[in-house]
């Protein structure tokens, strides 16, 4: 099992990613309204105010999607993210990564 974490700035992609999750057999995920470092710095630290355009994702909030998924679904899930977001590698677009999960409780298999 792996923990998939996706952080996206393009809020319009959220629905497509979650719909895609259902399609590829990922039965659940948690979505958190989140803020990036750039957004906090430009909003809270006066020296950075006015630098929104220079900070990756500085102007807007983002979504963090987390899901514990089967290891064999990781590649498909990442492919899905790229398909939906176009190019997540673009600076400030978002980030996706996975972490190994040692133990899981409360996750029901299909």
């Amino acid at each position: 099992m792996e923990l998939l974490v996706i952080i996206i700035k393009q809020t319009q992609y959220l629905d497509d990613i979650l719909t895609g999750f259902v399609d590829i057999g990922i039965g659940g995920a948690t979505v958190v309204d989140s803020r990036g470092m750039g957004q906090i710095l430009t909003a809270n630290v006066p020296i950075f105010a006015g630098l929104k355009d220079l900070m990756p994702g500085g102007a807007i909030g983002n979504y963090m999607i987390v899901s514990v998924i089967e290891s064999e679904k990781v590649e498909t899930a990442l492919q899905l993210v790229n398909e939906v977001c176009g190019n997540i590698e673009e600076e400030g677009a978002g980030i996706a990564f996975t972490l190994p999960v040692n133990k899981v409780f409360g996750l029901h298999k299909e």
């Binding site: 719909t19 999750f21 259902v22 057999g25 498909t76 492919q79 398909e83």
Partner: protein, 155 residues
């Protein structure tokens, strides 16, 4: 999830004329009834109409996905109708609907039902695909286009 295993040539009605939402649903149900036992067709239609009243299944981009769970059918049925001229379906984007995916699932296949809805929603965001399906003159063309999309899509 692949969509093509659920698509049957005999359950595709290409080149339908425009009509009311109810007429279109009736036509597609009648097509399904020619090939499968549906049980109480009137109840199915009533359930579909009730679902539409709850919120339209015209999800935008010229697509509608009316759907309901049906007691007594032996398997999930996907009935596809194309209306090249477009028809009023009270879609969320107020545009006429050109392709209708009517999904009927037995009560023990609800997970599959949800996955299929997700699949349809995903592939229907592809404008070119919707245009191809709407313009398909035959059931074979619809089936071939969906199969082709299945091969290239993630999932």
């Amino acid at each position: 999830m692949k969509l093509s295993p659920f698509v049957e040539k005999s359950l595709i009605a290409a080149d339908l004329p425009p009509g009311t939402k109810k007429e279109l649903l009736e036509k597609l149900l009648s097509l399904a009834e020619e090939h499968y036992s549906l049980g109480d067709k009137t109840k199915i239609l009533k359930d579909l109409v009730a679902r539409e009243k709850q919120s339209t299944t015209g999800i935008g981009c010229s697509i509608a996905v009316p759907h309901t769970i049906v007691d007594g059918i032996e398997k999930t049925l996907l009935i596809i109708g194309s209306v090249p001229e477009g028809t009023e379906f009270h879609a969320v984007d107020s545009k006429p609907v050109k392709v209708v995916f009517l999904l009927l699932s037995p009560p023990d296949r609800t997970r599959e039902h949800i996955k299929l809805l997700a699949r349809i929603a995903r592939i229907c965001s592809i404008e070119e695909l919707v245009e191809d399906l709407a313009g398909a003159a035959t059931a074979e063309e619809v089936l071939e286009r969906i199969t082709r999309e299945d091969e290239s899509h993630v999932g």
